[in-house]
């Protein structure tokens, strides 16, 4: 060692170490997705005739379009609820002592690591006809007959918001932690009120975290198969279940492939919009 003039850089490892995983991904990740794309470009289930028939079918079918639309809308609603509820948690986190900080983090983390079926099941218990909300409202005499909360858009949004909350809160905590606390004091001592300081200083500076959180929450909410199907029930259909029905129950693989590709592109479009916004906001907030 050390004798060769161009001695190897001891602090870095060769790219060869990435080869096994790269190969694994090529065979079991890239290849299947390419096959999915290939199959979606065929008009028949035997995959003999090339064509854009599957995509035309989806894009001219009002039912398919409404499923896509309601899925994208659901993602937006869940993201908004998560942001409104998650931001104050991150704000509180920066204001309490280390002991409480650990407790807050663990409360936020716990659902992230608890089985999603378990979390969804909990909401069935809460929102059901004999659930905690209906039981409380009835015993207080506010309502006579149980409210229908399960199998409604409201139920799906609130359950999904709870399930995905960690994905919003963790990046926000990181972003708020990077803001110089002196800015807050400076703004206040210059006469700006707390609300003004919050909306003019804190919120803009935390934009990278907001955008990271929104991206993760949105992508997770629109693909949350279990929560959507159990809380939404049979009447509400979103893209993941639509895809699953076409693939498994109806065995229509080319159409299911086309749904997958359209769904994938929709997710990528949303993510890249958020990423672009994030890049712009970093230039703004990183000053």
């Amino acid at each position: 060692m050390g004798t060769a003039p161009a001695s190897r850089d001891v602090t870095s490892y060769g790219m060869g170490l990435a080869a096994p995983l790269a190969l694994f991904f090529l065979v079991f990740f890239v290849a299947p997705l390419l096959q999915l794309l290939w199959l979606s470009l065929h008009n028949d289930t035997a995959a003999l005739h090339w064509g854009l028939g599957q995509y035309l079918h989806f894009l001219t079918d009002p039912f398919s379009l409404s499923v896509l639309g309601s899925t994208l809308l659901l993602g937006a609603e869940v993201t908004a609820v998560c942001l409104v509820l998650g931001f104050p948690i991150a704000w509180l986190y920066q204001r309490v002592g280390p002991r409480l900080q650990t407790i807050i983090i663990l409360i936020v983390l716990l659902p992230l690591l608890t089985s999603v079926v378990v979390r969804t099941f909990a909401w069935i218990v809460i929102l059901g006809r004999q659930g905690i909300i209906n039981a409380t409202l009835q015993s207080l005499g506010i309502i006579d007959t149980p409210l229908k909360l399960l199998y409604t858009q409201f139920g799906v949004v609130i359950a999904l918001a709870q399930v995905q909350m960690p994905l919003m809160t963790l990046p926000l905590i990181t972003a708020l932690g990077r803001i110089d606390p002196n800015l807050d004091d400076a703004s206040c001592s210059l006469g700006a009120g707390s609300w003004r300081t919050f909306f003019r200083i804190v919120l803009p500076l935390s934009l990278p975290g907001v955008i990271a959180g929104c991206t993760l929450t949105y992508a997770a909410a629109i693909t949350a198969f279990i929560t959507q199907s159990l809380i939404g029930g049979g009447q509400m259909l979103f893209m993941p279940m639509y895809l699953y029905q076409q693939a498994s129950t109806l065995q229509n693989w080319p159409f299911a492939s086309a749904i997958s590709i359209i769904f994938l592109l929709a997710v990528l479009a949303v993510v890249s919009v958020f990423t672009t916004l994030g890049r712009m906001s970093r230039g703004y907030g990183g000053a």
Binding site: M1, P88, Q162
Partner: protein, 271 residues
């Protein structure tokens, strides 16, 4: 300090933020508590509060062989997928973390992409590939599918741990005559081990909880726990599931507490 008006306004602001934060924290924690309480019901329904308390549903759970079978499969697949993710992921992290080349950045994006792409689309794609090459679904195909979606967690945490490693440590070790392998074993590995463990833990949990990939790659002979639970819940609202959910919640709490001690999990996920 100027005036009483601003102080009042500040108190109002802090009050509103704190109240929303506390409501949000309650919304996060309440569902788990509700499940824990309902699982001890003596009744047949998920009524809350329960009419009485008993351990009957835990006795039911003890005899629910279908759930045991699914849990065993999920455990086997999660262990194999995590093991594979560690071996493949740590090696790849070493290669890409300290390199600024375009290929390293592209590989990084490739390895992270399963986190963003809808996993359901990947599940369907994997099923089609396996049926094309004539591989019937089995625990092996499940392990392969799960590894693809779990490896990003190992890579992300290992890369983050490697980024904090002082390059001078490696240089000093080399100057003192240590071989690369020796330096890796005695310097690098001990320093990045908490990061690897944290990543492996999240990978394990996400495999054990995986639905979108398992949905396509399992069948009756390779039933997986989350799918079994989901199908049970679609059919009837069985209180046995509440008992099982409580067991899983407690197991998660214990595991997170241990991981917090071992790896400082919470700090890793917030920076």
């Amino acid at each position: 300090m100027s005036g009483r008006k601003r102080t009042l306004e500040a108190i109002g602001f802090e009050f509103v933020m704190t109240v929303i934060a506390i409501i949000a924290l309650i919304i996060i924690i309440a569902p788990s508590l509700v499940v824990l309480i309902v699982s001890f019901t003596s009744g047949f329904s998920l009524r809350f509060p329960p009419p009485g308390y008993s351990l009957r549903w835990y006795a039911e759970l003890w005899n629910a062989w279908q759930l045991h079978f699914a849990a065993k499969n999920s455990l086997i697949v999660a262990l194999w997928a995590t093991g594979l993710s560690i071996v493949l992921g740590v090696a790849a992290s070493l290669a890409i973390s300290r390199s600024r080349t375009l290929s390293a950045r592209l590989l990084d994006s490739l390895f992270m992409s399963p986190l963003v792409l809808p996993a359901l689309a990947f599940g369907l794609a994997a099923l089609m590939l396996f049926s094309l090459v004539g591989m019937p679904v089995s625990l092996l195909t499940l392990v392969i599918g799960h590894t693809v979606v779990c490896v990003p967690y190992v890579v992300r945490n290992t890369v983050a741990a490697l980024a904090q490693l002082e390059p001078t440590l490696l240089e000093s070790s080399a100057v003192l005559g240590a071989s690369r392998l020796y330096t890796f074993r005695r310097i690098v590995l001990p320093l990045i081990r908490p990061g690897i463990i944290a990543g492996a833990f999240i990978a394990f949990m996400s495999s054990f909880d995986n639905v979108p990939v398992s949905l396509f790659l399992r069948d009756a002979a390779t039933d997986m726990l989350p799918i079994r639970m989901w199908q049970d819940l679609e059919g009837k609202l069985d209180v046995t599931i509440a008992a099982l959910s409580s067991v899983l919640i407690i197991a998660t709490v214990v595991a997170v507490a241990v991981m917090e001690r071992v790896t400082g999990l919470s700090r890793r996920l917030t920076n």
